[in-house]
């Protein structure tokens, strides 16, 4: 006896197909809503900001005259921050991920660390700002300089980079590790020659994406004392600085309505930076897409 009655199946087929079409329509509509607001946002920012966006804007300091205000200090400051945040988080993050994935015994302590990392990744950024203010500005007395801002950002990004690096390391098939161990390789040789090379595209992609999140952060930097108006570029990690989002934020606070257009131009610049970083991440991912 057959359990599936082809007669009945045929009868129900029409309804099944209709429901499928409805589901597809609903999901498409949900997507459209998001796309609509994204498009509206992009339209508003572009129309408002593009007129003001010229070479002068990119190469000038901020000013009390909206016509002459520029974002150079923000761009350079953000780059300095990344110069501190990037290496610190990648080195610490990858080392932590390697320890947790390859060395740590699966026990209560490891599980505890693991859970807290995931929690940390979700902590509001202002909390990291407070932490940075306490540790770097007050206790270590570094001052309201690039280093303090960069390290605070590092605190913020570190948990995310650890988690994404762990995922990249975990996705390297165990059979490769076994092949290496079976030839008499030590753990470190296996990690350095097999695991890391295979995991690095994933690690880089994750790192760049988390750093690009840091580029847009405002709150923690305000707390650790990024300047809002600055007329010299930092020339080292112990100099005062500003950053793109800080600069934009300060423009939105100006009473003169013409500054809204300046802020929009700033947002365009920051979006270009984000797009650039994300494209680099995508290119890395596609170029080294794994084949096992």
């Amino acid at each position: 006896m057959k359990y599936i009655d082809s007669q009945k199946v045929k009868k129900r087929m029409g309804g099944r197909i209709t429901r499928n079409t409805i589901a597809k329509g609903l999901f498409f509509f949900a997507t459209l809503i998001g796309l609509f607001f994204l498009a509206a946002l992009a339209y508003r920012i572009l129309t408002q900001g593009i007129g003001n966006l010229d070479w002068e804007f990119l190469t000038g300091f901020t000013s009390y005259d909206p016509e002459r205000a520029g974002i150079l200090a923000g761009i350079v400051g953000s780059m300095w921050l990344m110069l501190v945040t990037g290496p610190v988080t990648v080195v610490l993050g990858v080392a932590t991920a390697i320890y947790l994935e390859e060395y740590a015994k699966q026990g209560r302590l490891t599980r505890f660390i693991q859970i807290n990392l995931q929690n940390l990744a979700g902590v509001p950024s202002i909390v990291f700002g407070l932490l940075g203010l306490t540790i770097f500005v007050y206790v270590l007395n570094i001052g309201e300089v690039v280093l303090a801002g960069g390290l605070t950002m590092a605190l913020l990004v570190l948990p995310v980079i650890v988690v994404s690096s762990q995922e990249a390391i975990r996705s390297v098939p165990n059979s490769l590790r076994q092949a290496s161990y079976a030839m008499g390789a030590t753990k470190w040789q296996t990690i350095r020659r097999i695991v890391l090379p295979a995991a690095i595209p994933g690690i880089l992609t994750g790192s760049i994406l988390s750093l690009s999140r840091a580029i847009g952060e405002t709150a923690p930097l305000l707390l650790v004392g990024a300047s809002t108006a600055i007329f010299t570029l930092p020339s080292g990690i112990f100099d005062p600085y500003t950053a793109m989002p800080i600069q934009i934020y300060s423009w939105t606070q100006q009473p003169n309505p013409d500054f809204q257009a300046v802020a929009s131009s700033g947002i365009i610049v920051i979006l270009v930076f984000l797009l650039l970083m994300n494209s680099i991440a995508v290119i890395i991912r596609n170029k080294f897409s794994k084949r096992y």
């Binding site: 699966q106 490769l176 092949a179 290496s180 161990y181 079976a182 030839m183 008499g184 084949r291």
Partner: protein
């Protein structure tokens, strides 16, 4: 212990027990493995063949919950001794896995991986090792013009022979093979079987197989495992023609397993 052909034992396994956590997987195994022979290990699924094989190069210890008791002497020294280095053991006792597992690197880099790990840097020496190992694995003619292409571009059978060549490159004394042909087509299987015959002149080989014809074709001695016990171990001809144990007979005549 020297047998009638005056060949030495490479491994002497004495009273070996092994547990995964609380589950015992091997019971009191005693077994000598003779040099320059092919030793086949057969038995139904889950009887402990792979576990036993992986104990011989201590790969089984990668499973954290594993405990062992008893001794395995490799060329006279107990490999479970505190002072015995696993890395050294594994350069002497190479392994080929069930699924081909080449590294996502070029053919050349796959072969030189072991030698490089063990400190060989000289380009000429490495080139020489690559040629010798690939010839040893009967693969040289097929791949000599594409040594720098990714090993993932090869067929499954070729990949498995890359893994064999990679194993030969560390110049082992013993080669352990865990169902090396189960993922291969009949022609690739035949090639690997011929290779095993060739290799035993220089190496001692222990091979796990599900395929009794294969065991009968290529091995000198056969061990039959059942539920973690070594039921019978003798010359392959004897074991297949006049098995001493009823359970062996049932298994090889296909009555269970």
């Amino acid at each position: 212990m020297a047998n009638k052909n005056n060949k030495n034992a490479v491994f002497s396994v004495e009273n070996l027990n092994l547990w995964y956590g609380d589950d015992q997987a091997l019971y009191d195994i005693n077994m000598d493995i003779t040099e320059n022979e092919v030793t086949a290990i057969i038995g139904p699924s889950g009887c402990g063949k792979s576990t036993y094989l992986k104990t011989l190069n201590r790969m089984v210890e990668l499973v954290p919950i594993v405990r062992t008791s008893g001794q395995i002497k490799y060329r006279g020294s107990n490999i479970f001794d505190k002072s015995y280095s696993v890395e050294e053991l594994r350069t002497k006792v190479g392994m080929v896995f069930q699924q081909p597992n080449p590294f996502p690197k070029s053919i050349y880099e796959n072969i030189v991986y072991g030698p490089k790990i063990h400190g060989i840097k000289d380009k000429e020496t490495l080139d020489h090792i690559v040629e010798k190992s690939l010839k040893g694995a009967a693969l040289w003619e097929e791949v000599k013009d594409r040594l720098h292409e990714n090993a993932y571009g090869l067929s499954g059978g070729q990949q498995q022979r890359i893994c064999i060549a990679r194993c030969l490159a560390i110049e082992p004394d013993v080669i352990l093979m865990d169902e090396p042909t189960s993922a291969l087509d009949p022609i690739s299987t035949l090639k690997v079987e011929e290779l095993v015959q060739e290799l035993k002149k220089e190496y001692s080989i222990v091979i796990v197989t599900h395929n009794m014809q294969q065991a009968a074709r290529i091995s000198d001695k056969t061990a039959f495992f059942l539920n973690g016990e070594l039921v019978e171990y003798s010359d392959t001809n004897t074991l297949f023609s006049t098995p001493a144990d009823k359970r062996t007979e049932d298994y090889i005549t296909g009555r269970f397993g």
